[in-house]
């Protein structure tokens, strides 16, 4: 989150990579039409939506929440209820799920005055309450029996029956969220929440309404978490309270941190690692979570910037080597940023 007012430099640096990734995601199902692989990619896209929301909250505005699973759960069950019990069309339920989570997050407004560990524990408390609600209100949520019979997603009267179309739905929504949040950088709103993270006192002294902006970030993060929950409900079509425990919140936090705090692309990379890696490690059975944990530690040892910074450094190195071999310049300039 820097270099606003300097859009030319930034665009040139980011655009080709972004276009490449988008193109790859579009053609991917044609190269790898395996249902299971597309399902995992959908789950990664869904997780990345929630993670990007948390990135805005933590990475941009500096508020640590370990209760995002609450909003994810509220979104999932809202969407399930709206479609399965009330026959609301999916697109409406998707937005409704986000709205329900956003409204629930307004309960958090009083606690945005808290910071650091105090805020984190308060969000945790909220997620415990939501979990217990899902677990115990059987008449509404099915309780520990789970919520069954969630219809498939449908768009414009067309039911997304095959895995490929639901892949496009999930990745498409993730892309919309990404490009929406990317706009925050270099805007008045983006600078202000960035300022709050770096020094709330100085932000106040500049006339920034700190509490209001912090609350806005909570609402934004909750909205997209709710949207992610809705997509999850229609992807898996079965909800159980255990999908929305404290652990889910921690997973989202891991995504943001290993991806790189403050980096939107990092949140997606983090989601890919946290959701995808355990699947690839299935071959080693019970050891997979052990290996997964070790990989998390190793990623953190590489540096605070997470995977996003790691890739950026790697990219610069490769570019420097390529430049040098192309122009045969003497070495020693690659460290310059």
């Amino acid at each position: 989150m820097s270099a606003s007012f300097d859009p030319s430099a930034r665009r040139r640096a980011v655009r080709p990579v972004t276009l490449l990734v988008v193109a790859a995601l579009i053609v991917l199902p044609w190269i790898e039409p395996d249902k299971f692989a597309l399902h995992i990619l959908s789950l990664i896209a869904i997780a990345s939506i929630a993670a990007m929301g948390l990135q805005v909250l933590l990475g941009y505005s500096g508020q640590l929440s370990i209760g995002q699973a609450a909003f994810y759960g509220i979104g999932a069950y809202t969407s399930a209820l709206l479609t399965a019990k009330l026959g609301v069309p999916f697109p409406l339920a998707l937005v409704g799920a986000g709205a329900a989570a956003a409204i629930a997050s307004l309960l958090m407004v009083p606690i945005t005055r808290l910071t650091g560990a105090y805020l984190a524990v308060a969000t945790l408390g909220f997620s415990i309450i939501v979990y217990l609600f899902i677990q115990n209100e059987e008449w509404l949520t099915g309780g520990s029996y789970g919520f069954i019979g969630i219809p498939r997603a449908e768009l414009f009267g067309y039911v997304l029956r095959d895995q490929m179309s639901s892949y496009y739905l999930n990745v498409g929504v993730a892309a919309i969220v990404y490009f929406t949040f990317a706009r925050i950088e270099g805007s008045r709103f983006g600078r202000a929440i960035n300022a709050i993270r770096q020094d709330a006192d100085a932000a106040r002294a500049s006339g920034i309404g700190v509490t209001l902006l912090k609350s806005e970030c909570f609402v934004i993060a909750a909205f997209v978490a709710g949207v992610a929950g809705s997509l999850y409900a229609h992807e898996v079509r079965y909800l159980a309270p255990n999908d929305f425990t404290f652990w889910k919140s921690i997973e989202m936090l891991i995504m943001v941190v290993i991806g790189g705090v403050g980096s939107l692309a990092g949140a997606i990379l983090g989601a890919a690692v946290v959701v995808g890696l355990p699947e690839y490690l299935r071959a080693i059975g019970d050891y997979r979570m052990l290996v997964f944990g070790a990989i998390l530690i190793a990623t953190m040892l590489f540096g605070e910037g997470g995977l996003a910074a790691l890739f950026a450094t790697l990219g610069r190195r490769v570019a420097a080597v390529a430049m040098r071999s192309a122009s045969k310049l003497p070495p020693g300039n690659e460290a310059a940023r």
């Binding site: 989150m1 820097s2 270099a3 606003s4 007012f5 300097d6 929406t180 706009r183 925050i184 270099g186 805007s187 008045r188 709103f189 983006g190 600078r191 202000a192 960035n194 300022a195 770096q198 020094d199 006192d201 100085a202 932000a203 106040r204 002294a205 500049s206 006339g207 920034i208 309404g209 700190v210 806005e216 934004i220």
Partner: protein
């Protein structure tokens, strides 16, 4: 910038303002009247309550008793952000810049309250967003010129030299053309040349129509640039007058510029 019209000569009036921290009366029934368009010095030995008084005016602390008038309005209960929006801006003794942002972005934050574009304006890149961004950039750049940092606009604030950071804080505080500027030791840690530059900058800020309250230990800066001075000691007002009067006030000389004062002067 947005104060209500008030034809009184006083921009800021603190009436019998006190602030208690537990058992300590940091500021004890102090009266302070700041003339519109002046540079008002706030001096006194360490622990005299200068910074506390400044923080009371800025709204960081609420007064334990007494009242604060800014122009025609009573701001005693207003929050820091509300006072900032009303036209009271400040710098900090221990620099509080946004280290990861560029110098230009730091100044842009100072204009936050002047603008309206929110989250959706940014996402949709509305005309308002684009218009405001342009005006923020132009105005911020102009202020960087004013303080002499134009060449460093795109440098990260955290990477700037110490003296430049002091100037940047002032730039961020004045970009919105505040009515009242609170400077908390703007020359602290600066060498003689840099301190002279700050004095000259303060005079230019006043000449542009901003009233200044200056807390400063550099006596040459205070005496050169202040129109009036209030002296604090042990949280109480010891004296009030022009620099000439203050320098000759026997009470001040004894408490502040006396024997130990000579040492301080030499250090400064």
């Amino acid at each position: 910038m947005s104060t209500t019209a008030d034809d009184g000569a006083w921009l800021l009036q603190a009436r019998s303002v006190s602030r208690r921290f537990g058992g300590l009366l940091a500021v004890d029934a102090v009266d302070l009247a700041v003339r519109r368009g002046s540079v008002h010095g706030l001096i006194g030995p360490n622990g005299a309550g200068k910074t506390t008084l400044l923080n009371l005016v800025a709204g960081v602390y609420r007064v334990s008793s007494g009242m604060l008038r800014f122009g025609a309005r009573d701001i005693t209960q207003h929050s820091t952000a509300k006072r900032a929006r009303a036209g009271i801006r400040r710098t900090f003794q221990n620099l509080k810049l946004f280290g990861e942002m560029t110098a230009l972005e730091n100044v842009a934050i100072g204009l936050h309250a002047q603008m309206r574009a929110g989250f959706f304006d940014a996402v949709l890149s509305t005309p308002r967003h684009r218009r405001e961004e342009r005006s923020i950039r132009d105005r911020s750049m102009a202020v960087l010129h004013f303080v002499g940092l134009a060449g460093l606009a795109h440098v990260r604030a955290g990477a700037l030299a110490y003296g430049h950071r002091r100037q940047l804080e002032i730039a961020r505080a004045i970009v919105a053309r505040p009515t009242l500027l609170l400077l908390d030791e703007p020359a602290a840690g600066l060498n003689v040349t840099e301190a002279a530059h700050v004095s000259e900058l303060i005079a230019r800020i006043r000449d542009d129509g901003t009233t200044v309250i200056l807390v400063e230990h550099h006596m040459d800066v205070v005496m050169r640039v202040c129109d009036e001075i209030t002296v604090l000691n042990y949280g109480r007002r010891l004296a009030h007058g022009t620099p000439g009067q203050i320098q000759e006030d026997p009470g001040v000389i004894e408490a502040y510029l006396g024997r130990s004062g000579e040492n301080e002067r030499a250090q400064a």
